[in-house]
């Protein structure tokens, strides 16, 4: 039963988010490339464009903004699902049957979030950098060789590790905070909506504060 729920959550949190993650990453990678090209204005080496796109995508955009976006999409979904189950007494029914409702309903979501969000972030990094390379060549702001050189120059594997550590923590935050707000919703449908909003707001706030703390701890 747990395995079945876990797979369902992987599909709900992960597979169903591939579209939005891909779309945002492609456009953000392309925009970062064009903005960097505009800033360097011809007097800084063109490979800087590839370098900047890579660093921005790996260090900040993919590991932080993708979980923030997922907090909106997945977090509100988790909170409203659990909130609805609370107000329609489904959670009470589970308790009456002797089922540990928190473990049954929340644990698969948290584990799925912690496992699948890093994969979405890796996908985002690849697509963002790829889109940056494509737009650089397509608009002529850089040659592919310069972009590739910039992508490789001063590359540190630890940057990717740092990004993935953040991602695992953010995956935990966005699923657990949303689940908390949904699970403890009370009242009727209006309160379910409110709990969903609170879930998104608090997830984003906690992700941002954690981002600062983790960055200070790991990079400085």
């Amino acid at each position: 039963m747990f395995r079945e729920l876990f797979v369902q959550e992987l599909e709900s949190i992960g597979i169903q988010s591939v579209g939005i993650v891909s779309l945002l990453s492609l456009f953000m990678g392309a925009v970062i490339c064009l903005q960097t090209a505009h800033q360097i204005g011809g007097w800084i080496p063109a490979y800087t464009i590839g370098f900047t796109v890579r660093q921005t995508m790996i260090l900040e955009f993919s590991p932080t903004l993708i979980p923030v976006i997922l907090a909106g999409k997945v977090g509100s979904n988790i909170a409203s699902q659990l909130g609805s189950m609370r107000v329609t007494e489904e959670i009470d029914a589970l308790e009456i049957m002797g089922v540990n409702s928190a473990s049954h309903l929340i644990l698969p979501k948290i584990l799925a979030g912690v496992l699948i969000v890093p994969f979405l972030v890796i996908l985002s990094m690849v697509l963002g950098v790829g889109a940056g390379a494509w737009i650089a060549v397509a608009t002529g702001v850089s040659t592919l060789a310069d972009f590739e050189y910039g992508m490789q120059v001063d590359f540190r594997v630890f940057d990717v590790s740092y990004a993935l550590i953040k991602t695992v923590i953010f995956g935990f935050i966005l699923t657990s905070v949303s689940a908390y707000h949904g699970y403890y919703a009370s009242g009727g449908p209006i309160e379910v909506g409110r709990s969903s909003t609170r879930a998104v707001v608090w997830s984003v706030v906690i992700i941002m504060v954690s981002n600062l703390i983790i960055t200070q701890m790991l990079l400085n």
């Binding site: 039963m1 699902q81 609805s84 329609t88 007494e89 489904e90 009470d92 029914a93 308790e95 009456i96 049957m97 002797g98 089922v99 540990n100």
Partner: protein, 136 residues
């Protein structure tokens, strides 16, 4: 037998239950009747442990349910059947999955055995339903 001993429950300043005592004997049908908001649901939820009473305790065949650990409560809860006001079916599941759910959670049967059990139950239900329609 289920016994309620001096159950009191308040929400904020509003006292919903004040020292309610009752006993529900095995084999007897009992009714709790009252106006809307008089505390029938709260009393029922206190009885099955979904709401903790502020004062008093509930006993199931002499076992103090209120002071039990969650683990011990689980065993008693599996002896309880409760129909909620809103039916409390799992919306995300089909009727079949709703019926199968407790079998999957507690019976230890394989999926194949659960399927057989489900089919048998449905056949019984159909035969009862057709008899009922004939009588009508």
């Amino acid at each position: 037998m289920i016994e309620l001993h001096n159950i009191s429950k308040s929400f904020g300043t509003h006292d919903v239950l004040k020292e309610v005592s009752a006993s529900f004997e095995r084999g007897k049908v009992n009714f709790v009747i009252g106006r809307s908001g008089s505390g029938k649901s709260v009393l029922t939820k206190c009885t099955v442990g979904l709401i903790e009473p502020d004062v008093g305790h509930v006993e199931y065949d002499g076992r103090n349910f209120t002071s039990m650990s969650l683990k011990d409560r689980k065993a008693i809860r599996q002896e309880i059947g409760m129909l909620f006001q809103g039916s409390a079916l799992f919306d995300s599941m089909s009727v079949e999955d709703n019926v199968r759910f407790p079998l999957r959670m507690f019976s230890g049967l394989s999926e194949k055995e659960i399927k057989l059990s489900w089919k048998k139950g449905i056949e019984n239900f159909k035969s009862i339903r057709s008899k009922y329609l004939l009588y009508k």
